[in-house]
Amino acid sequence: MNPLLRVKDLDVTYGAVPAVNRIALEVPAGEIRAILGANGAGKTSTIKAILGLVKARGTIELEGRSIHGVPTHRIHQLGVAWVPEGRQLFSTLTVHENLEMGAFVRGNGLRFASRVDEMFALFPRLRERRSQLAGSLSGGEQQMLAIARALISQPRLLIMDEPSLGLAPKVVQSLFEQIREINARGLSILMVEQNARQALKIAHYAYLFEVGRLAAEGPSVALMASEDVQRVYLGG
């Protein structure tokens, strides 16, 4: 059976500068997979290539069908949702309008209303803030909204870029618990994280990137036990 997402031989270059070199990764249905690595390791470039936001060479497939070269808005229609680095909410739109943008393709009406309720059940704070401008939320609330905006389209694959960035440690803890919960309901997740320790706790499998190349990969348990990984990524 084909994995939900398969990336093979992925190259991304900006001008003459290679950002991603021969990357291969997969996300089987139902799993959380993490991409770990330092700044400039090519993590975000890989994600943008999958979303069709940067030009890339190589294979990108969703359930065995190539999505390479498909325009970004169509890739979303195939069930891929994105939680961008630094949230990137529509800050001049209200919380509710951001959710409406999340559901731009998958209609509105009654089903939309009930999905908004689901999101508010998942993140009760957003309900209180629903008519506030997204730009006026706290960092933690913004991350909740960024996730809700992505989930409301009921995607098959959720791509999260640095969800823990800029959040207080306590907030990060509860955020990762929520991500684990979302996954437990059946959603497949590809997550980019600098916070390797936290990410390995919830991911089934992880890829370690080093300056645009795949340095190591394996089940989280194995990676956590590996001495090299401990030394380089976990500061132990």
């Binding site: 979303l51 970004t72 808005h73 890739i75 994105w82 739109l93 309008e97 731009f104």
Partner: protein, 289 residues
Amino acid sequence: MELFLQQVLNGLMIGSTYAVVALGFSLVFSVMRVVNMAHPEFFMAGAFGAFLASRYVTNNFFGVLAGGMLVAAAVGLVVERLAIRPVRGRYVMIPFIATSGVGITLQHLAERVFGSDPVAIPAVVRPASYALGPLSVTRMQLVTFAVAAVIMVGLRYYVRHTKWGRATRAVAERPEVAAAFGVDVNFVSRLTIGISALMAGAAGVTLGVLYTSAWAFMGLLYGLKSFVCMLVAGNRHIEGVMAIGLLLGVLEALVSGYVTSTLRDAVAFGVLVVVLVFKPNGLFGSYSV
């Protein structure tokens, strides 16, 4: 006092059309980061559309209005295809120069087709004037204002309360993210150019009928003043652009009434200089390039 109120009234009537043209400028800039220098020619195209419609098709004002708006929208889509789509996302001066070139071409094309003198547009609105206490207003002034008001209210509703208006705001702020949530950014761009051209075209029709003429170079000064309205207001809030358009009309009318009408066309640029010194992003804030 009467002169003052009369000039304020006259100013609001004309200012409403500045506002409508300026809104198109700012809408296109905020969605695409393109300064569309061909925008004033949509206004000119609207006036010639009104001329053609009144000459060959109908004497009904609404028919003439629709004709002018359609001609303007057609010109708008051609400009989008020729001078905006191929250079989108490039450094801001490139679409600026490309659309300037198309704008100049359109002016000279109109001059070739219609001659270098203004052509006369018949009075498709029956001439009449009304007294409001000591003030007077012509029927065509009221029509001009009403068309602009309907457009402004309609645009505000579209941007604030419709699905595509919401998507337009989302694209204005973060085009990549909007695309990743299923918005076809190119479609929104074309839609926005089309709407801006329809609006400028409507202003061209009403001003053409008000002044009973259309002219190949009528967009130059008029468009420049509307552009100034956008710069003074900043392009972030459409209400700000509307207010500044109306205000410019009033200021010009007051200068004409109390100082001299030869200074009228300098008002906009004087205000621009002062505002840019103190608020370089405009009074109500701007999206940056």
